[in-house]
Symmetry: C3
Subunit: 461 residues, 3 copies
């Protein structure tokens, strides 16, 4: 019974003025009293939705940030891997030379099996918000029209700007390869971040070493020259406005201090072209990782740790749909690191909700550990809700980065942040306004802080 | 204030017709508006309750499927172990030759300490639904009458059919020993499933080897003849309509490919009567397990994995009340298996809610991994609720088997499925109809799919 | 629209008596119908709040139980560690010789960053309840007045009694060092408990051995005399009314039976002044621990196990703000212990919510394992709610100790128990009265049992 409904009701019956007033009062009071939680949450959500954001972690290619066809959107690994998991053969999804429209057509056939997933709801949200699609599902009978409408919109010269504006995005953090020249784009809009997985875990590959040499012009051959090359990367990235160093780490990784002299023989052996043993590879990883932390300290650069992923667990999976994990991991593995670098801020993401309490506790104790978003397999409402509740009630509010989109294409910021803002609004309404008697305004301020304020402070440099 | 209440209200007061209408409209509107969640959930629950089911995992003895006295029901390990845990000595519960009625009388004395548990609510539900018991608790003053009423009902010749009908059960999957002749019962009603714990973990026992020899007529002596014997079991079971191979696994089990030649010497040693070392036993287990998976592939038989139980942790416990677990287990241990058998469907149950997110993620990625029910220590509403939410929102809807009863006696399907259906209705109401704006009908369809449709598809053969 | 509101409404409009009645009925009905959850929860909470309690685990110093200044309260590690984590340097918090008022002033500067935390809400609750503080936050502009008001109240000679009465505390369990003389306080109010961390984990320190010698007058030199000394401690503590032996344990501890003869050589070596190896230290720890369990059995003393804490993970942290954990721990490590001592009651606390399901399952199976409170990093509403739900629905109600305050100063019992009672009331309302159709009275009885009744029974001796 909305306001229109009550007016209609009043008009229908020729009651005395007293009774009209009575009805209005009953309605108004019951509105405040009974439906507060739901209405309250919606009001908070509306406030959070109006906030313009900085997205602190994405995989956007700044040279091609927005999509050009629906295949760019539906090619996101969430859809290809779920469609594959539901029965679509990998060869159909990743057939070499496949036409984008044909690819979308093939994926659409499987979407019915995924229509329960929150991931698919992002897709519908995108289609509705950006392309005016208003049907309940993308089906074999309506997808072509949608595809064409989308293609037309995306062909507009200012499409990228439209998406940024409609999504309320002010800045977008990138994930740049260490040898990215960082040229040809606006680094005030697209903020460089130095991604270091290759350096730490793939220096054993000839290709990685060649890329490093090319990027730095350093003739690496020993632990010290390796260190020099890394120094050059930091110089380059920070000179181009980088705001973070970042890495994703397997569940069994445990950083430890390795000094150049300890790594010397092994690095030399590697650069002499020898195949390294498991232990030797690990030593090089540890050395490079520790060196990165040292340069983060030197440059006051936050070091994003994304902890817990095992790569290529399902090798027959689709592109980017092969990674899983072992939940038996602990932040205690990072004890030495967190103690050794008190001046480096570590925004930490964990892959599973079973690691969330550790993240809450470690950031509650360590000044240099801050909580960073809801990552990948934990990025669905049930996990976000529980994790968000436990974080907001126990960790200093200034040490929590609420969310990042992790997107590959700009169109995903809107539905992903919206999902998060909806959960956040519910938690603020139930746990703070109702549960702890906060004013609505105060709850909204807390929401805005974790959504944006802390991103500015923590990555502010 | 239900509909009857509002009529009563209207009758009580001689109001003008206008006011009567007004009251009706206020009521109807507030009904739709204010109490939607609760009423909605009840309507969805009613729809789910009306669905006739296939129970995809039980321990029913098809030759004695229903109970004959209340002792059969209260002898379920949930009650004996909880009564024991609350203080009833094991000797009193399991006294040799104990009269069934006396056993029930002894257990009843302890029930007061368990009346908070959901497990006890199943018992009360059974007594209410099947025996017309209407009191709040089973006590020392009312149990005898209940016992006698139950005995009378259970003595009716069609009791088994009554229970099946009242419970809405169309088919019931069994858990058959590998040497079960599978004769003397209707395999269209009671579906055979090959349970393989003994083969994988107890082949070291003389008794198991003798049972295998007797069941297959194969003179096993080496890895190849062991394989032949297993082949015969699959032939026998599939010829009798088996729909699954099943096994429960300890937390530290990690399947790996073991070829006959690798197992040869050890199997020969075992059959020569030698005691195996720990490592040798493990090798045999791995070999048998891998062979089972190969025959599942050959026969297109789903392989139910129930992961995480340690047997006999509390050896002084009551029968079937001795098993616990080590939560430090991971589905990464099954990486090799899931990759090696893309054509075998693995319905996976996990013992703890801390493994639930792994199950969600692995079934989201691996086409051959599907989610199976809420097992044992995770089969209570708090865990089911959280696990159910996270599954329904992230995994293709066709890859989720909502629930199985795991029952030993037919009477338990009704209360256990009802508990699950209640949780499912709540989740569908809150997360889908309210949270994602689905129609009620669509939410109900999703509920029916995970309750029944997927059981048909996944175990359809 | 509360009762006052409805009266006001009725008074405002000169309606006929019929309409007045109608409004009352609509209001009353809708009250029962629509707002039941919230009102119900509040009624249950009010009942639980009225209960006088025994607090079964605290760190109260009985010679100085209440605070003397606000610095005693704000010096609680929850505030110093959170303020430190949010940016306040450790040197400012723990400057030697720091004046209490100055300390509070420094902490207040950081409180704004913590105002979202439940921990800070305890502080505000204390200030409101005990000192009449009514503002929303403690700020740089209002803290001095608060400090002075508090100091004045605390200076009253009966302050301790006031706090006990206002908090509804009848008895308070202590955590006494093994060499505590247990003299000079009322052991009927402040109940001694033998804390044994030092004996088990720090016997390698000269100081601990000297304290043991002094406390027992036993000239320890071998495993047997060590055992004799421990026997004396138990005699002393039980003669002074001790109700529990208690210990906190690291995640990797796994008790095992070590007999005197096995420990003999190592204990002799230790007492000869030799430095022990890691393995030798572990053997001594195991021996002492097992001996403690034996004396608990001999004296029918419950043995509180607080499982999962790693000490000094963050060594640069503030006092008591340095401990964290490794979630990779399991109650399976206690299998041997729980089996070996069927007559010792083990009230078990776990540090993380990821261990909660194990605790539920182990206490569901083992008669001698009971659930004990919500400890430390799990002592915030999100974790308590989930843990409380899963416990109340699956474990015999007589085996659950709902809560203990873990406080260092008396003033904390009130806000901490209130937080728990609020969660408990919500769970009883939603899961029992609404979810399972219990009467309010029955739900309240269950609440009182876990809040107080079980404390009396389990620690009753």
């Amino acid at each position: 019974m909305d306001r229109a409904g009550i007016h209609c009701l009043i008009a229908l019956f020729p009651l005395t003025e007293y009774i009209r007033k009575l009805v209005r009062i009953i309605f108004r009071n019951s509105r405040n009293y009974f439906i507060m939680p739901d209405q309250l949450s919606k009001r908070i959500f509306a406030e959070l939705e109006s906030l313009v954001l900085i997205d602190p972690h994405t995989h956007i290619n700044p040279h091609s940030a927005a999509s050009t066809t629906l295949a760019d959107i539906m090619g996101y690994h969430y859809y290809t891997e779920l469609a594959h998991s539901a029965g679509l053969p990998q060869e159909q999804i990743e057939e070499p030379g496949l036409d984008p429209k044909e690819k979308v057509g093939r994926l659409v056939k499987q979407l019915g099996d995924l229509d329960n997933t929150i991931q698919l709801s992002w897709l519908l949200d995108i289609c509705c918000e950006f392309f005016g699609f208003e049907e309940e599902a993308i089906t074999e009978s309506n997808w072509e029209k949608l595809y064409d409408t989308a293609a037309e919109k995306m062909a507009q010269p200012d499409w990228e700007q439209q998406v940024l504006k409609q999504s309320g995005l002010e800045q977008v953090f990138l994930t740049n390869d260490f040898d990215d020249p960082l040229e040809g784009f606006d680094t005030n809009l697209y903020i460089p971040c130095l991604r270091t997985d290759d350096l730490v875990f793939h220096l054993g590959k000839q290709e990685t070493r060649e890329r490093l040499a090319k990027a730095t012009n350093v003739d690496v051959g020993c632990a010290h020259t390796l260190r020099d090359a890394i120094a050059k990367l930091f110089d380059h990235f920070t000179s181009r406005g980088a705001r973070a160093c970042a890495i994703s780490l397997p569940p069994d990784f445990s950083p430890t201090a390795v000094m150049p002299e300890e790594a010397e023989a092994t690095v030399r052996s590697l650069y002499a072209g020898n195949e390294l043993s498991c232990d030797e590879s690990k030593l090089v990883s540890q050395y490079v990782f520790w060196t990165l932390a040292e340069y983060c300290a030197a440059h006051s650069l936050p070091f994003d740790l994304m902890i817990g992923v095992n790569r290529r667990v399902y090798e027959a999976g689709v592109y980017q749909g092969q990674d899983l994990y072992d939940k038996r991991t602990s932040l205690i593995q990072y004890k030495e690191l967190f103690n050794a670098f008190p001046n480096v801020t570590f925004p930490v993401s964990v892959l599973t909700s079973t690691s969330n309490q550790e993240l809450v506790s470690y950031s509650w104790i360590f000044p240099n550990v801050v909580i960073n978003g809801h990552w990948w397999y934990s990025n669905t409402p049930a996990f976000i809700t529980f994790d968000c509740k436990s974080r907001l009630e126990a960790v200093p509010k200034t040490k929590q980065i609420g969310y990042y989109s992790d997107m590959y294409k700009l169109e995903f910021a809107l539905p992903k942040f919206r999902m998060y803002r909806r959960v956040l609004a519910n938690v603020l309404a139930s746990d703070f306004v109702i549960g702890r008697n906060w004013s609505e305004e105060r709850a909204i301020e807390l929401g805005k802080l974790v959504l944006r304020g802390n991103v500015e402070t923590i990555f502010g440099r």
